[in-house]
């Protein structure tokens, strides 16, 4: 793959990267703010969010969050 191909694809790649990054940051901010998570291990959830591309943040948002005392915002 020559440099021209990467240069051509880059403008199309940027929105995809923005979506990935937005999900990652959103999940990480939620993880930091949340008092309790499933399994109790925030570091493990952090690793899942960061290391498993796109699916990691989704897994956390679907299954990782535990209700806070003030109310619920889990699925």
């Amino acid at each position: 793959m020559d440099f021209d191909v990467i240069k051509d694809a880059l403008p199309f790649l940027i929105p995809i990267l923005v979506i990935q990054l937005a999900l990652l940051v959103f999940a990480l901010v939620d993880l930091v703010k949340r008092k309790r998570v499933k399994g109790g291990n925030k570091i493990l959830w952090g690793a899942i969010i960061i290391l498993i591309d796109i699916i990691g943040p989704i897994i956390y948002l679907l299954f990782g969050r535990e209700e806070d005392d003030a109310g619920s915002d889990t699925l």
């Binding site: 694809a9 929105p15 959103f26 989704i58 619920s72 699925l75």
Partner: protein, 251 residues
């Protein structure tokens, strides 16, 4: 149905508050944007990975990109439907929030109906965003495709997913445990997809809808109006059975 309007508003707020809409939109947009890009650059990627091995591929086409997108969104969509719907009733019963809502003068049919409307709305908006994004990327990268056929495909996909949401809601009402509800719903949805392979019966199951839509992209395709009618009936019957179950059960 008493309280339907209020409950629909509550459900839509819930979709945003629990990030369900964000999850659906994020996942669908990711696949909507990445599929045409992957199809366009697949020959270069294979060349890069294969080194000396020569793999001859026909030039990628716009039709191929949208067919691939539809297949992907169908598989991912079914999983997302089950994951976000399986706890809709079961988990609320578990947590006690269903008791709180149903202790007010609210029809049980309205309770389930509002969930179907709320989840379907956020699902359809996410699907619409992803399909629009995928279409724009396909046109920019690979060329024109019949927009009318793509719209028809999306309408059929939408009806199929609403049917899948109604079926999952039914199992969520039948089971107290959301994982059991999700597992049985997924097995049921995969099972009826297998039925499409059986001649005659296959034209009448809801899973025939995406096949009809994907076929339309390539040109005229035999219609499956029977599957449209059966899907509408399945949605109605699922809502009725969910209401019946909730009416007969001590919440």
């Amino acid at each position: 149905m008493t309280g339907l309007g209020v409950l629909i508003k509550k459900e839509i707020r819930e979709q945003l508050k629990t990030y369900r809409f964000l999850i659906m939109a994020g996942v669908f947009l990711f696949f909507g944007l990445s599929t045409p890009l992957l199809i366009k650059y697949l020959p270069e990627l294979l060349e890069l990975a294969g080194e000396d091995i020569i793999i001859e591929l026909p030039p990628p086409t716009a039709l191929q990109a949208l067919q691939e997108y539809s297949d992907t969104i169908l598989q991912v969509g079914i999983l997302v439907v089950v994951l976000v719907t399986m706890g809709a009733v079961a988990r609320e019963r578990e947590r006690g929030t269903a008791q709180m809502v149903l202790s007010k003068p609210v029809d049980r049919g309205a309770f389930v109906g509002a969930k179907l409307v709320g989840i379907s709305l956020s699902f359809l908006v996410a699907l619409g965003l992803a399909s629009a994004a995928s279409y724009i990327y396909t046109v920019m990268l690979l060329g024109e495709v019949d927009v009318g056929a793509f719209l028809a495909l999306n309408l059929l996909l939408g009806l199929f997913f609403i049917t899948a949401i109604a079926i999952t809601l039914l199992f969520s009402s039948l089971f107290k445990n959301q994982l059991a509800a999700g597992g049985v719903a997924l097995a049921f949805l995969v099972g009826q997809a297998v039925l499409t392979q059986i001649p005659w019966i296959g034209d009448y199951v809801p899973a025939a809808l995406p096949g009809w839509g994907i076929g339309l992209l390539a040109g005229p395709h035999p219609a499956a109006w029977g599957a449209v009618a059966v899907s509408v009936v399945v949605i109605g019957v699922s809502l009725y059975l969910s209401r019946l179950k909730l009416s007969r059960t001590e919440i």
